[in-house]
C-alpha cells in the first residue's frame, strides 16, 4: 500500500470502510504532516484533541456498522466556515479567537457523512483576495500573520481566497478541503496549486454558517486531488437547507459519482473566444490547447462561442461584491462578537475605532467602495447598472449553451505569481480574475482541473463551466480527462 497521504480520498474511504486502517491512525498521520510542513502557513487552527475525538467516534461508528460514506476521512475546512470545535476567524483580526456556537451546514453535512476535521485553513481576510496574502491572523506555528505558500514553489502565491485549502491538498497535508468561491476563490487557487476544485450552482450548497462576503455570489465547494474525489464530497455537502438559507435551492441532493464514466462522444465544448485574448499567457494557452486536443481524442467537438461581456464582468463584480460586503460586514461593530477597540468615546466612536482596528486594508477598501456605490445619488449609476449588466452576462451564457454542453477555457491568465507581486496594486489582482467572474455572476457551476504545467513548472488549470445544476456533467468531463492524463496525480517535490 502506498503511503496514506498519497491515497486518493476515494481509496482512503474504502480502506477505512474495509477496516484496513483506522480513522485514528489516519488522523494522526495527517496531523503529523501538518506539523512537518507548517512553513506553508496553510493552517490557522488545529486542535489535536478535537480531531482525535472525532476520529475515535468515526472508528466506533465503523466498528458498529452503519457509518457514513466518508467515515474517518480527514478533511480541513476553510476558516470561513464556522465550527464549534475550532476557532473561526475568516482570517481577520476582527474575529481572532472567535468561537461559534454552531457548525456551518456544509461542515455538519460532511461530519454526518463521517469526515474528521483536521483544522481550519488560511484564507484572505473575509475571502477578499486572490493571493492569500491579506490574511491578518497568525498561521499555526507562526508568531505573526503569514501569507500561504505554494507547495510547487514556496516563493509563489497559492492563489486565493481559498489558498490554504489549495496548498494543504497539493502538499498532501489533507486528502481534501472545503473552499468557498465568490469570484473564483475555489477555481483559481485550485489551478495555481494543481488540484481539482468545483463551485456548484449558486444555491446548491447551504450558505448557513459561511461567514458572509457577497451573499448573492458566495458558494461552497470541495477541493481535492481528482474529480472523482470531488464528486464524493460534493454529493455529501450539497442539498436543500430551506429553513436556514433563503437562497438554498429546493433541489434534492444527487450522487454526483454516478455519471463520472459517461463517454464524451459528441460532447460539444464551447470555447469562448474572449477567454483566449491578448491577456492570456502563452504557457497557459499551450497547456489549455493540449487539454482541448485531448478532449477531441475523447470524442468531443470544440465549438467557438462568444461571451462578449467577459471583460465587463470585472467592474460589475467589483461593484456588486463590495456593495454586498459593505452591508454584510456592518455586523462587525464591537458589540455582539469579535474585536472591540481598547479606547473609545461614545457609541459611534466605538464603532469607528473598532472597525478601523479590526479590518485590514483590502476589506476596508471594499467596504468603502460598496458604501459609495450604494449611497444616495450613485446607486443607479453604479449598483443598479452593474446588476443590469449582470443579467446580460447570465443571458450571454444561456445563448452560448444553445450551441454547447459545457464551456472550457483557462482559469487564470497566468500561472501563480510571486508573493508580493500584486500586493501593492489591487487593480492588477482584480484584472487577473477575468475568466472566473462571469460564471460567478451568473451563478453557474464551474471547476478547475489540472491540465499541465507552464513557466517555471507551475501548474495550469483548465476551467469548465456548466449550465445550472450540471455539476454531474462537469465532473464527468473532468474525470474523463483525468483518466487520460496524470497531472492531477503529480505531487510537488518534497511532499
Amino acid at each position: 500500500m502506498s503511503e496514506l497521504h498519497q491515497l486518493s480520498l476515494t481509496d482512503l474511504a474504502q480502506q477505512l470502510r474495509g477496516k484496513k486502517i483506522s480513522a485514528t491512525e489516519t488522523a494522526q498521520h495527517f496531523l503529523g504532516r501538518m506539523r512537518a510542513h507548517q512553513d506553508l502557513a496553510a493552517f490557522l487552527a488545529v486542535d489535536e484533541e478535537a480531531t482525535l475525538a472525532q476520529a475515535r467516534a468515526a472508528d466506533a461508528a465503523l466498528a458498529a456498522g452503519g457509518a457514513g460514506p466518508l467515515a474517518g476521512v480527514p478533511i480541513a475546512h476553510k476558516d470561513i466556515f464556522v465550527t464549534k470545535d475550532f476557532p473561526s476567524t475568516a482570517g481577520s483580526k476582527m474575529l481572532a479567537g472567535y468561537r461559534s456556537p454552531f457548525d456551518a451546514t456544509v461542515v455538519r453535512r460532511l461530519a454526518e457523512a463521517g469526515t474528521v476535521t483536521l483544522g481550519k485553513l488560511s484564507c484572505d481576510e473575509f475571502a477578499m483576495g486572490s493571493a492569500n496574502e491579506s490574511v491578518a491572523v497568525p498561521a499555526v506555528g507562526h508568531g505573526a500573520p503569514a501569507p500561504v505558500r505554494n507547495p510547487w514553489d514556496r516563493s509563489r502565491t497559492p492563489g486565493g481566497s481559498s489558498g490554504g485549502s489549495a496548498a494543504a491538498v497539493a502538499a498532501r497535508l489533507a486528502p481534501a478541503a472545503s473552499g468557498t468561491d465568490t469570484g473564483g476563490s475555489i477555481r483559481q487557487p485550485a489551478a495555481f496549486c494543481g488540484i481539482t476544485g468545483i463551485k456548484p450552482t449558486y444555491g446548491r450548497a447551504s450558505r448557513y454558517g459561511m461567514i458572509a462576503y457577497a451573499s448573492s455570489l458566495d458558494q461552497a465547494g470541495p477541493m481535492a486531488r481528482s474529480a472523482q474525489d470531488c464528486a464524493l464530497l460534493l454529493s455529501a455537502l450539497c442539498g436543500p437547507d430551506l429553513d436556514r438559507d433563503s437562497t438554498s435551492l429546493d433541489v434534492p441532493a444527487e450522487d454526483f459519482s454516478r455519471s463520472l464514466n459517461d463517454r464524451l462522444d459528441g460532447l460539444r465544448i464551447g470555447i469562448p473566444k474572449e477567454f483566449f485574448g491578448a491577456g492570456l499567457a502563452d504557457d497557459v494557452r499551450t497547456a489549455i490547447d493540449a487539454a482541448l486536443k485531448e478532449y477531441e481524442k475523447l470524442g468531443a467537438r470544440l465549438v467557438e462561442i462568444s461571451l462578449p461581456r467577459t471583460e465587463l464582468a470585472i467592474p460589475v463584480y467589483y461593484i456588486i461584491a463590495p456593495a454586498e460586503a459593505s452591508s454584510n460586514l456592518s455586523r462587525f461593530d464591537g458589540v455582539k462578537f469579535g474585536h472591540r477597540a481598547g479606547q473609545y468615546g461614545d457609541l459611534l466612536d466605538m464603532y469607528k475605532r473598532t472597525r478601523a482596528e479590526g479590518f485590514g486594508d483590502e476589506v476596508k477598501r471594499r467596504i468603502m467602495v460598496g458604501t459609495y456605490v450604494l449611497s444616495h445619488g450613485y446607486y443607479d449609476a453604479y449598483y443598479l447598472q452593474a446588476q443590469k449588466i449582470r443579467r446580460m452576462i447570465a443571458d450571454d451564457f444561456q445563448q452560448a449553451f444553445k450551441n454547447c454542453d459545457v464551456v472550457a477555457g483557462p482559469v487564470a491568465p497566468t500561472v501563480a505569481w510571486q508573493l508580493g507581486d500584486k500586493a501593492e496594486d489591487p487593480v492588477a489582482a482584480y484584472l487577473a480574475d477575468i475568466y472566473t467572474l462571469s460564471a460567478s455572476l451568473a451563478g453557474l457551476p464551474g471547476m478547475s482541473v489540472p491540465c499541465g504545467f507552464g513557466a517555471n513548472d507551475m501548474p495550469v488549470g483548465l476551467q469548465l463551466i456548466g449550465n445550472y445544476l450540471q455539476e454531474g456533467k462537469l465532473l464527468n468531463v473532468a474525470h474523463r480527462l483525468q483518466q487520460a492524463t496524470d497531472f492531477h496525480l503529480r505531487t510537488p517535490e518534497g511532499y
Binding site: P315, K352, A356, V369, S375, Y382, P426
Partner: protein
C-alpha cells in the same frame, strides 16, 4: 470621475471607519484607481434590462424568488453560547457606551 478627500471622509463616516489621514490619502488613490476600470461599465446601454440581484431570481429553471420560513420561534435559548465571544457582557446583556442621558 474622481473622489476628493471630502468624499473619502463622507464615505468613511457612512461606513463607520475611522481612517487616519495618511490612510485616507492612500484609500483615495486606490479607490480612484479602481474607478478607472469602472468607466467602461457606465457606457453600456442597459435600457429595458431587468437588474439581476440574485442568480436564484428566475435564473435557475423552476426556482421561485427567495423564500421565507414560517415566522415561529424555532431556536432554543442559547444566550450563554451566543454571548461567549462578546467583548463586554453583564448579567446576560451586551454592554455599550451610554447612548441615552
Amino acid at each position: 470621475m474622481s473622489l476628493n478627500p471630502d468624499d473619502i471622509s463622507r464615505i468613511a463616516n457612512l461606513a463607520r471607519l475611522a481612517l487616519a489621514p495618511e490612510e485616507s490619502a492612500r484609500m483615495r488613490e486606490r479607490i480612484n484607481g479602481f474607478f478607472a476600470i469602472v468607466e467602461q461599465m457606465r457606457a453600456v446601454d442597459t435600457a429595458g434590462i431587468e437588474p439581476l440581484a440574485h442568480p436564484s431570481m428566475g435564473a435557475v429553471a423552476g426556482q421561485a424568488a427567495l423564500r421565507l420560513r414560517d415566522d415561529v420561534a424555532s431556536e432554543p435559548n442559547q444566550r450563554e453560547a451566543n454571548q461567549q465571544s462578546a467583548p463586554a457582557v453583564e448579567r446576560g446583556l451586551f454592554l455599550v457606551p451610554k447612548v441615552i442621558e
